[in-house]
């Protein structure tokens, strides 16, 4: 009896928090399955999950940054750099393990630069990451003078193409990263410090939270998540492209904001961000299946984001 009521209470809480945005997702799915009977199938949903993986992982990192009241616009460029670093590692004859390590370290370093410039030089993260977005995007072309670089390492390309226990590896990666991010955010003191600092930076400082260090670490998390996205993207393309991940930072921001992350800081969860990423994935997939021209897709996506966020904000205001 009490267990049942506890479960009910948890369900009510979840509905209150994610109800609006989850409803938007379900409605989109219903609309698309009416428009195209092939939309509602396991195979297609696997497809959507794989397509959304790159955005979702970058959005997990973005959620940390936005939670702190900052922004990271360099994510799309880091995705491209990561692919190129991997490709160059293989060109130098490194194996899969060392190449992956070097790629992730590169992501961490790029994030660290964002964090240090923001925290120590007291520059707004919007400006810092607009600048590094350009710098990192330029760095991608240095090794090949702008040409794509092929990747022929079998393990690397398997990540984006093979399956494990019946599920594509790429979905396993998303699932594992989702669980890790959500646990660190909700169950550790590190996550708590992010919430508190995002909620009121001054109060956090006076309570002994080292907010500069926290900020640098969180930008590093964003950098590493983007680098993992870059690995996935390059493995699916069998190559590193200089224009890879272009404007993905905006999709990542949209996913986080759709999921209820507040740009003012202090509010947000990975669950919400995952739902937000799925909305973007469903829209892309559904409209592609209907052969909607790309420019119409952009217009529709923009409108859906506006409406979904407006519905969510309205629901939360009504609760007060």
């Amino acid at each position: 009896m009490t267990q049942q009521t506890a479960a009910q209470a948890a369900l009510v809480r979840a509905l209150k928090q994610y109800g609006g945005i989850f409803l938007s997702l379900v409605m989109l799915c219903i609309i698309f399955s009416f428009l195209n009977p092939r939309f509602m199938s396991v195979v297609n949903f696997m497809n959507i999950l794989q397509q959304v993986a790159v955005i979702a992982i970058a959005a997990f990192g973005m959620t940390w940054v936005i939670l702190l009241g900052e922004i990271d616009l360099s994510v799309g460029s880091i995705i491209a750099v990561a692919g190129m670093v991997g490709a160059q590692c293989f060109a130098f004859g490194l194996g899969f393990g060392p190449a992956l390590a070097v790629t992730l370290i590169a992501g961490a370093l790029m994030g660290m630069l964002n964090g240090v410039l923001t925290a120590k030089l007291l520059l707004p993260s919007f400006i810092v990451t607009v600048a590094t977005m350009g710098i990192y995007r330029g760095l991608v072309s240095l090794p090949t003078n702008g040409a794509p670089a092929m990747i022929d390492n079998a393990t690397w390309t398997a990540i984006g193409t093979e399956s494990f226990l019946g599920l594509p590896i790429i979905i396993w990666v998303v699932a594992v990263l989702f669980v890790i991010n959500q646990i660190v955010l909700s169950k550790t003191s590190f996550g708590r410090r992010a919430y508190l600092t995002g909620g009121n930076r001054e109060a956090a400082i006076y309570s002994g939270i080292k907010v500069d260090r926290l900020k640098i670490i969180i930008f590093m998390i964003s950098g590493v998540m983007a680098a993992i996205s870059g690995v996935l993207l390059s493995s699916r393309l069998f190559s590193a492209q200089t224009n890879a991940g272009m404007s993905y930072e905006l999709d990542a921001i949209a996913a986080a904001v759709l999921g209820g992350t507040s740009l003012a800081g202090g509010v947000g969860t990975m669950v919400g961000t995952l739902i937000g990423a799925l909305i973007i994935g469903v829209m892309n997939n559904g409209m592609n299946m209907l052969s909607v021209p790309y420019f119409y897709q952009l217009i529709v996506k923009g409108l859906v984001i506006l409406v979904a966020v407006w519905l969510d904000v309205r629901a939360k205001q009504a609760k007060r």
């Binding site: 550790t188 003191s189 400082i205 309570s207 939270i209």
Partner: protein, 507 residues
């Protein structure tokens, strides 16, 4: 002039206001007369803010009638209220820090030329307003460069610059020093002589008795009584306000320190020649375990700056000894780790994360104590500790998960106290611990401070309220313009001596 000086300008009859099922105001009434100061007195949560918001047009009354100059008064928004002749100076600062004083004072009413703001006229008009009020403020200065007290005066100038029939001042002196408060009282005098009615809200009984002509007491959303200032005493008003007799404002010490043995009187914190260029110089004092050391000084005397330096927020030269050991904190984290707690001046800016829960706010400074293996938060222990503090300090909250911002001012302040109690500090710095807190909650906070001292915590109590410093401290350090005026104890502790040192009339 506006006719005779005794007729009613603003009349509130039988006004009620409900938010859903909750009645915030029940049959409220008020009769405000021209050229008089009418004080509205009540504890936090008594309904003063709701009533003011109805007058300002932020809320609308559920029922009842309000008339201004015998005309029905139902403003739809603050702009309309002010156009009809009712100006409000809110307690919370509503200024834009990156604009100048002149731009703030005349915001939304800037003089224009061809549709563009006419800067010369703007500055001239603002200068005239400031000069008329006698404020010592440069109107071309950016508000962000002013002290909190100066900002409050700008706020007042902004409210008064409308040609108002009724002016509402909501706790205008809460961040003013005594000399700045004098400027305000002078302004109020000028308003009265112009026939303007002033509705005054304050928790400071001395200034209420000095300024008011009429005093109306409200309690739990209901009208209690209205008195002529000459027919009533502070004690009677407090009794009416809290609905019970308040025998003492300051609880007595739990142990008599004068009888303490020499062994008990070991200094926990000793500060020598602490100096920070441009802020304070040569500050030396020490505080014993269980002692309450008061810090008094006018706004701008450098009290808060000294405390920030002690807490590792700012660098300073000089020596600080904690339990006989030289220490130098480079961050608050280090200071907290060594047993220093700091209840900061502005609970909303530096004390609380208003959007997060009571529990999270209470455990915030002691988070390392609630962190287990792999950085996981020990949720059970955290919740238990937070619940214990809520019980010990009698914090009134629906649950531990309620956002801190939903609580009343007094309860919010208790959360800040609870946060620092959880860190078990050896030295607790309290910067204006009862600002914006009602009489009942003040008494409870004073009792908590006494209890902490009795348990051996060394306490630094900073306050702009002279009676509070006198009522609570064992010794008092007086600061004046960044230097130590005097350290007073025993029979030297009189309002006259302290003020003489604080104003620098005596050295």
């Amino acid at each position: 002039m506006h006719g005779s000086t005794t007729d009613t300008v603003l009349k509130i009859s039988n006004v009620t206001k409900s938010f859903g099922q909750v009645a915030a105001l029940k049959s409220m009434r008020l009769d405000v007369r021209r050229g008089r100061v009418h004080t509205l007195l009540g504890e936090n949560g008594a309904g003063k803010s709701t009533l003011m918001k109805i007058l300002a047009g932020v809320h609308s009354a559920t029922s009842g009638e309000i008339t201004l100059d015998d005309q029905p008064f139902r403003p739809a928004n603050p702009q309309q209220a002010s156009a009809l002749g009712l100006a409000i100076v809110f307690q919370e600062l509503s200024l834009c820090n990156n604009l100048t004083v002149a731009e703030n004072i005349l915001a939304t009413r800037e003089p224009r030329k061809f549709g563009f703001i006419n800067d010369t006229a703007l500055v001239a008009k603002a200068k005239a307003i400031v000069a008329e009020l006698g404020l010592p403020i440069d109107v071309t200065e950016k508000v962000g460069n002013l002290s909190i007290a100066q900002r409050q005066l700008v706020e007042i100038a902004k409210g008064l610059s409308h040609d108002a029939k009724v002016v509402i001042l909501d706790e205008p002196t809460s961040s003013l020093s005594d000399s700045e408060a004098e400027i305000l009282f002078d302004i109020i005098g000028r308003l009265k002589s112009r026939g303007v009615a002033v509705i005054y809200i304050s928790h400071r009984m001395e200034e209420i008795m000095r300024l008011s002509d009429d005093i109306t007491v409200i309690r739990d959303g209901e009208y209690v009584s209205t008195h002529d200032r000459n027919d009533v005493t502070i004690e009677a008003l407090i009794a009416l306000m809290v609905g019970r007799r308040m025998d003492e404002i300051y609880p007595p010490p739990i142990h008599d320190r004068s009888k303490a043995s020499a062994a008990d009187q070991r200094p926990v914190l000793a500060v020598e020649r602490l100096t920070r260029d441009g802020e304070f110089a040569d500050i030396s004092f020490k505080v014993d375990a269980g002692e309450i050391l008061g810090f008094f000084g006018l706004v701008g005397s450098g009290r808060s700056e000294v405390m920030n330096a002690l807490f590792g927020m700012k660098n300073a030269s000089g020596t600080v000894r904690l339990d006989g050991q030289d220490v130098r904190f480079r961050s608050p984290a280090e200071a907290i780790g060594r047993g220093i707690g700091f209840v900061t001046e502005n609970r909303k800016e530096e004390g609380l994360v208003l959007g997060h829960s009571v529990e999270w706010n209470i455990s915030m400074a002691a988070l390392p104590d609630f962190t287990g293996p792999f950085g996981f938060t020990r949720g059970g222990a955290e919740r238990k500790a937070a619940a214990a503090e809520v019980g010990r300090l009698a914090i009134k909250t629906r649950s531990l998960d309620t956002p801190a911002g939903a609580l009343s001012g007094g309860n919010q302040q208790k959360i800040v106290l609870a946060k620092w109690l959880l860190t078990r500090p050896k030295v607790l710095i309290l910067d204006e611990p009862t600002r914006g807190v009602d009489v009942g909650a003040k008494f409870e906070i004073y009792k908590i401070i006494r209890q902490l001292a009795a348990e051996g915590t060394a306490i630094l109590l900073i306050s702009s309220e002279l009676p509070e410093v006198l009522g609570m401290s064992d010794r008092v350090v007086v600061m004046h313009e960044g230097v130590l005026g005097a350290t007073l104890a025993g029979t030297e502790l009189t309002p006259e001596t302290i003020m003489a040192h604080a104003t620098g009339f005596q050295s």
